[in-house]
């Protein structure tokens, strides 16, 4: 029933695809080409050999085990955020507050770790995970509340909550949770070593992080495509008025999608604390949430594409870290490539 309005359009698009088997491939390839052209122009204008730069950006992350493990440790929170965002996108919401939800999750995860540092690690990790997810969900629900009760669009409520969260993190790092020696921007005191998530020896790779992210991906894919809840969420996203007519409480579904996304972003924040930085640092989210938005936009919130795109984007970012040292150019070129890819992919998509 819900899909009746969608049906004719999908039907014609399917028939066109059958007529032109290559049509479905040409558009993404065109976007890819355009993105590389723009990035190459940027590279040429700063006077470096593009091929050498591309070799580092595209394959640098796979060159040594250390870089590979860094890439995986970036891809895990990135995947968690973009999986969460695919839920809010399905519900028709632009959750720009994902960055703040990650920070809120990191802060909330620190609470049990600081309160009871001598409890058994396994229990503490579990507590930190739950608390982080709850913190992120709460932060996201505040956005939902602002949208529902104050009429603030979720985009700006989210941006505002991002500022609020980074202010809170900064206050904690420099105030109540400051280092015992002296307050420092580099973060709180490091957690006791036994509370660090176990890593593969001599690498920064904590296998638990990617495993958690993959489990989240599978669960969300199942929930969005195989359950009645997922169907209702997508209905709200496509046409809230029609969904309400069918008896779906749209405000409630929106709050649930926000909370779910916030919980996943909060989990990503928790992983940043226990597996990457081992402390709360002011910049704990490091733009991963915003990058997750790019991933989710490029994947069109389609769960099958989230994993490869998240891995590719993480590889670009990690690969470009060596650029300033080897080629003397700024590593922001990875962001240029990622942004251009999403921009041109949007451009080549069919008009709705």
């Amino acid at each position: 029933m819900l899909w009746l309005r969608q049906l004719p359009d999908r039907y014609t698009r399917m028939r066109l695809d059958r007529l032109k088997p290559l049509a479905s491939l040409t558009r993404p390839l065109l976007a890819l080409l355009a993105a590389f052209v723009l990035t190459t122009i940027a590279l040429l204008s700063s006077g470096v050999a593009p091929l050498e730069a591309y070799r580092l950006i595209l394959f640098g992350a796979f060159s040594t085990p250390v870089r590979l493990s860094d890439m995986i440790m970036l891809a895990a929170p990135l995947l968690l955020c973009s999986v969460g965002l695919s839920i809010t996108f399905a519900g028709g919401l632009y959750n720009l507050g994902v960055e703040g939800q990650m920070i809120a999750g990191a802060i909330a995860a620190m609470v049990p770790l600081r309160l009871w540092p001598d409890w058994p690690p396994l229990l503490l990790w579990l507590l930190a995970g739950l608390s982080g997810a709850a913190g992120g969900a709460l932060w996201a629900l505040l956005i939902g509340g602002l949208r529902r009760y104050a009429g603030v669009s979720e985009i700006f409520a989210g941006l505002g909550m991002n500022f609020l969260a980074s202010g809170l993190a900064l206050y904690l790092v420099l105030g109540p949770w400051r280092r015992q020696t002296s307050a420092s921007l580099s973060g709180t005191d490091l957690l006791p070593r036994e509370l660090w998530l176990p890593t593969v020896d001599r690498l920064r790779l904590a296998p638990a992080a990617p495993v958690i992210a993959l489990i989240a991906l599978v669960i969300v894919w199942w929930a969005l495509t195989k359950t009645r809840w997922g169907l209702e969420v997508r209905a709200v996203g496509l046409n809230p008025a029609a969904a309400a007519r069918l008896g779906i409480v749209t405000a409630r579904r929106m709050a649930e999608t926000l909370a779910a996304c916030g919980a996943l972003a909060g989990t990503a924040g928790m992983l940043q604390v226990v597996a990457v930085h081992h402390a709360l640092i002011p910049n704990i989210s490091s733009g991963i949430g915003l990058l997750g938005l790019l991933v989710a936009l490029l994947a069109r919130a389609d769960p099958r594409w989230l994993l490869p795109i998240a891995v590719a984007f993480a590889a670009f970012t990690v690969g470009s870290i060596q650029l300033p040292l080897t080629l003397g150019i700024d590593s922001a070129i990875a962001g240029v490539l990622q942004g251009a890819l999403v921009l041109f992919a949007l451009a080549t998509r069919a008009r709705r």
Partner: protein, 328 residues
């Protein structure tokens, strides 16, 4: 008194890029297009404007280049959203990130390099007026422009036929279409004009307020401007007031730092953003229908003034803001 005047003049100066950018954004949002790329556009145009002014030694060329960059980004947004029918929010957001990274990458050679800046030009005679002189007439041309652009935008929107068309584009594009106006073309025009203003605002950062360019030096104020435009109800005077309030908060924060040296600088930098968001959220909450319902429960004596206040505060978005326009 003397100190207060100096402080107020400093607020007017510090808010100048924000006001210019906010007026640009108000124009394009009033025509129904959200330009979410504001922060990135400002960074990219600040970098370009500074680089051009540094290389050519000509400030005017720097401002022109910055305006062109702003207009170009807006035109790309228009192409992708108005012509190709993609979501304005999505395209604007991607452009914001893309332009930020482009400015960091291309601007690396120009970061923290000393360069030209707009000269201080007090206006003769007028600057000697008591109170008004030090407040309004001892600045530089960019700040004078920021002071003039608010009444200009207000007049444009509410006093001219063009303004009527712009407001109608945002409220009821179908009606404008029926009157024979090409909706998409006019939305393009407003978006590009607004984008050029945002570009000039970027140059006002790098060539005037901060006197130089450095990595991400707007510190997220583009996002704050977006929020101020939304919560300012898309009305030029209120939006400008929001910008001045934000600049005042920044000044108070800097002052409190010298008074209380225990507070770390980073807190001082973030505090105005947090306070501004709280103020905006509270104002919006106070003006919400829920607040009106609460007021109705109060004794009758209080109801009328409070409801009047709520009505004054209430800001309704242009009805067609962010909506694609399909020819009927």
């Amino acid at each position: 008194m003397e100190q207060l005047l100096i402080d107020l003049a400093a607020v007017l100066a510090a808010a100048s890029p924000l006001v210019i950018a906010a007026m640009g954004e108000t124009l394009s949002e009033r025509a129904g297009v959200i330009n979410l790329s504001l922060d990135g556009t400002m960074l990219l145009s600040a970098m370009t404007g500074f680089a051009v002014a540094l290389i050519t030694g000509n400030l005017i060329l720097g401002f022109i280049a910055a305006a062109l960059v702003g207009a170009l980004v807006a035109a790309v947004l228009g192409l992708f959203s108005l012509t190709l029918g993609q979501s304005q929010t999505a395209v604007g957001f991607v452009l914001a990130l893309l332009c930020t990274d482009l400015s960091s990458f291309l601007g690396a050679p120009f970061a923290r390099v000393p360069g030209p800046s707009v000269p201080f030009t007090p206006i003769p005679v007028l600057s000697d007026l008591p109170v008004f002189g030090p407040l309004f007439f001892r600045h530089d041309p960019v700040i004078y422009a920021s002071l003039l652009i608010v009444p200009f935008t207000a007049f444009l929107l509410y006093g001219t036929r063009l303004g009527l068309i712009v407001r109608a584009l945002g409220e009821r594009p179908a009606a404008v279409y029926a009157r024979g106006v090409d909706v998409t073309r006019w939305r393009y025009a407003m978006l590009i004009a607004g984008g050029a203003l945002v570009g000039i605002a970027g140059a006002a950062f790098s060539l005037d307020l901060k006197q130089g360019w450095s990595y991400r030096h707007t510190f997220g104020s583009g996002w704050i401007v977006l929020a101020i435009v939304i919560f300012g109800g898309w009305r030029p005077w209120r939006v400008a007031l929001g910008c001045y309030l934000f600049a005042a908060l920044e000044l108070v924060a800097t002052r409190s730092q010298s008074a209380l040296p225990d507070i770390p600088t980073q807190i001082v930098q973030v505090a105005p953003f947090v306070l501004m968001i709280l103020v905006l959220a509270l104002v919006n909450l106070a003006a919400s229908p829920a607040a009106a319902r609460q007021v109705m429960r109060l004794p009758a004596f209080w109801q009328r003034p409070l409801l009047a206040a709520i009505n004054r505060l209430r800001a309704t978005a242009p009805a067609a803001l962010g909506q694609p326009f399909e020819r009927p």
